[in-house]
Symmetry: D3
Subunit: 172 residues, 6 copies
C-alpha cells in the first residue's frame, strides 16, 4: 500500500448546472441539494487519497450567503487537508457562476470528514497526507483544532482536553 | 400577521425508504442524500412557523454514527427552536429503522437555520416562537450560544463578543 | 415470530414537498407521482406489521378531488386495517397543505394491499392484526367486504359468494 | 373545435425498462412506480383525445399478479373508452417482458379517468368518442357501470341510482 | 439459439412526456436527455434481436432541428437494421408532438450500435437479421458503408479499405 | 459585447460518480446516461464562450471502448474549438477512473455543436474564438472539415462542395 500522498494528488473539480428539480418555488437552489453535491465532490477527493470506498463521518458548519439561481453553474473544488488513522478531512469551496450576467463568487466553504472502509466494511488505515503549499500546511495544522471542535460538539471530548482549540479561542 | 407561534405547531415527521440510488457501492446511504432529506424536512418546519417560502442559511455540525443501509426506513422529526427577526433555527432528529431486524436507533441530530423570504425575495420578519415544554425551553435558551458559534465560525463575530458561547466553554 | 400486532403499531406519517418535476405543465402534482408516494407510505405500514419485505398486490379505487400545486406539502397517514394469511390491507389518508395560504384539506383516501415475502421471495404468513379504537374496528370489519369487491373486480369471485359485499349494497 | 374522435386516434404505446431505482430490495418493480408510468401513459391517450392539458380524476382498482423484475421491459397500451362532458375514461394494459427468458405476459389492466382543463385551469368540454371495433363498443358501454361504481365508492351516488351497475351484479 | 430474426421482430415504440427536469432555462428539452431516451429505446430493439444484455458501442452523428418544448410528447420508433457477429445496428426516428397545437414532426433520426454480452460480460454472437421490406433492405445494405465511416472516424480503418463508403462519396 | 474569446477561457471539467440508477443489469454505465452528462458538460463550455443560453444542434459520432462500471469516476474535460456565426463546436474527452484498482483511461472523445439563443429564443451571433496552443489551432482548422461532414451526413451539403473534407480523405 502507498504510505503517503501529497495534498495536490487529491484535488478534484466538479461542475453542476442548476436544473428545475434542484430549486424551490422561488427558483433558488435548495440547500440540501447543494449539500448532496458537496458530499459527492468531497468523497471523490477522499477516495483519491485512500483508493477505497468511503462513508461520510461528519460535515462541519456550512453557511449559505446568497441564493443560487436556476441555470447557474456550480464549481466545487475539493482537496484532502489531513488524514487521521482511518479518517480524512476534506476542504471544499463552492463557486457559483451566472454566465449570462458574467458574475462569479465564492458561495461557501466547508470541511467534511470521511472514513475509509475495507471490503468487509470495516474502518481501515489510510495513507498519511503531505501538505506542500503554505495554504495546505495551514489547513493541515488547523485540522487538529477543527477535529477537537467536532469531538466537543459531538459530546465525545471535554473542553479541557481540547488544547489546540483553546488556542483558537485565544488567537485565531 | 400572526405574532407568535408555539414550538409544537412547527413539528413535522418525514419518513423515507432508502432506495438503490440513495446508496454507494457498499449499499450504504450516502451522507449527502441524507442531508438533502434533512434540509427538506427542516424547511417544512420553518415554513409551518412563518407561512412563507424559506431558504437554508446554515447547517450546524452533523456527524453520522453508523452506516444506514439500503431498505432501511428513516424518520426525520423536526421542530423550530427559536426565531430571530427573519431567521429560524430548526432542530431535527434522524431515526434509522431496519424493520426486518427490528432495530431502531438515533442516527443523528442537527440544527439548521432558515431565512423567510417575501414575494420579492427579500428577508422578512417572522413570528416569535413560544417554547412550552422543558426540552423546548432548553433548546430555546441554547439557540443564542449556537448562533454565536455560527457567527464566529463564519467569521462574522469576534470571540470576545460571544458572551453566551463562553458560558458553554466554562460549563455546558 | 410475533403472533399479533396492534393497528397502532403500524401507523406511519410521510411528508413530501411537491417539487417541479412532480408537476405537469399547469403546475399541478401528477396523479401518478402521488400514487408512487402513497405506495411507499403504505408499504412502510405493511412492513411495520410483518417485519418482512412486501410487494403491492392491489390498489383500490382512488379519486382526486382538487389539484395539488407546486410547493404544497403532502402528509400521508397510513395504518394496517387487517391481515389475511400473507396479505395486509393498509388504509391511508392524504392531506394537502398550502403553508402560504394556510389551507389544509383531505385530498384523498385509499386502500392498498400488500403481500409479505420471505427470503426466497415466497408469500409468508403475517401476524394477526388487533384493532383497538372504534375506527380501527370498523375498518377491520369492512376489510372483508372490500376484499370481496377486489376479488369480484379481479374476476376471482362470483357475485353470489360475496356475502359481506351484498350487505354493503343493502345498507352502507 | 373537433366534435368527435375515434377511439383508435387516442391509442398510445409506452415502453419502459425497469432500472435499479424502480425496484425494492428484492429487485422487484415497486407498485407505485408502475402506477406513475400508467398515469403518464393514460394521460397521453387522454391528451390525444382532447388536445388540452389533463389532470387525473380517478384510478380504478388495480391488482398486480406477478412481481416484475429489474431489467424487464414494460409495454403500456392505452386508449380512451368514452368521454363524459369534461372527463375521459382510459383503459390500459400493461405487458411485462423478460427478453432474456423470452417470456411476455399481461401484468395488469386498469381504468383511469382524466378531466380536461382550459388555460385558466377550469374543466372544459371534450370531443365525443366514437367506438368502432367490438371491443371498443363493449368498453364504451361498460363505461357507464364503471362510472357508477366510482361514484358509489366515492360516496357521490346512492346504490339505488346506479341502474347500470345493478345489471353488473345481476349478470356480468 | 435462434439463428435468424426478421427486422420487424425488433421493432419498438417508446413514448415520453417532456417534464420540467428534462428542460433548460428556456423550457427546451436538453439534447442529452433526448439522447438518454434514444439509447434506452434503441437498446430495447437490440435486446429484442439478441435476447441478451447489450452495451452501447457507438452513436452516429445526430442533429437536432427544432427545439422540443416542455409538455411535448416524444415517440421513438426503433428497429435493428443489420447484425455483425456480436454487434447490431439500430435505426431510430424521433417524432415530437405538441398535442395542444396539434403539430407533429420528425425531430431527428439516428443510428446506434450495440454489442451483445453473455453472462460473464463477454461479446457474444447474435442472430442474423433478415430484412423484408424495401426500406429494411436499403438500410441493411447501407449498414456496411455506415460501419466503414464509423471505423474511419474512430481511427480503426484506413480510407483505402472503405470500399462501400467510397461508393457513398461517388453516388449516394 | 465581447468580440473575441480565447479557447482557454471556455475550458471546463465536470466530475461524476457512477451511481446505481446510471447502470444496466450488468452494472455497466448506460451509454445514454453518459451522453446526457457529455451534453451538459459541453453546454457549459459553450455558455462560457457566449454568455447566453444554448441548445444542442448536433453530436458527432461517439464510440465507447470499454464498459464503465458502477462506482467509477468520470472526468469530462471540454473546450470550444471554433465558432461560426451563432454556433460553437465543443470538443470533449471523457476519462474513466477506478480509484480502487487505480486505473484511469480515456473512455471516449466527442464533438458537439451548440447554437446560442437570445432572450426571444432566436439564434444570435457569438464571439469569435481565438486558438492559442498548437492543439487548439489544429482543432480550429479541423472544425471546417467536421462541419462539412455534418452537413453532408445531415443532407444539407453536396459532396462536391466539401472542399476541406476531401482533404481529409486524401491525407488526414
Amino acid at each position: 500500500m502507498i504510505k503517503t500522498k501529497f495534498a495536490s494528488e487529491t484535488s478534484n473539480t466538479m461542475t453542476e448546472l442548476v436544473l428545475p428539480n434542484d430549486t424551490n418555488t422561488l427558483g433558488n437552489l435548495m440547500g440540501g441539494r447543494l449539500m448532496h453535491w458537496m458530499d459527492i465532490a468531497a468523497a471523490i477527493s477522499a477516495m483519491r487519497h485512500c483508493n477505497m470506498p468511503v462513508v461520510t463521518a461528519s460535515v462541519d458548519n456550512v453557511s449559505f450567503a446568497r441564493p443560487i439561481k436556476l441555470g447557474d453553474i456550480l464549481s466545487i473544488e475539493s482537496k484532502v487537508t489531513r488524514s487521521f488513522n482511518s479518517s480524512m478531512e476534506v476542504y471544499l469551496k463552492v463557486w457559483a457562476e451566472n454566465l449570462h450576467e458574467q458574475t462569479r463568487y465564492l458561495s461557501n466553504e466547508a470541511y467534511l470528514t470521511f472514513v475509509a472502509l475495507n471490503e468487509s466494511g470495516k474502518p481501515t488505515i489510510v495513507p498519511e497526507l503531505i501538505p506542500e503549499t503554505i495554504d495546505e500546511k495551514e489547513k493541515f495544522a488547523g485540522a487538529l483544532r477543527r477535529r477537537q471542535l467536532r469531538l466537543i460538539l459531538g459530546g465525545k471530548m471535554k473542553i479541557d482536553e481540547a488544547v489546540e482549540l483553546k488556542a483558537l479561542f485565544i488567537k485565531d
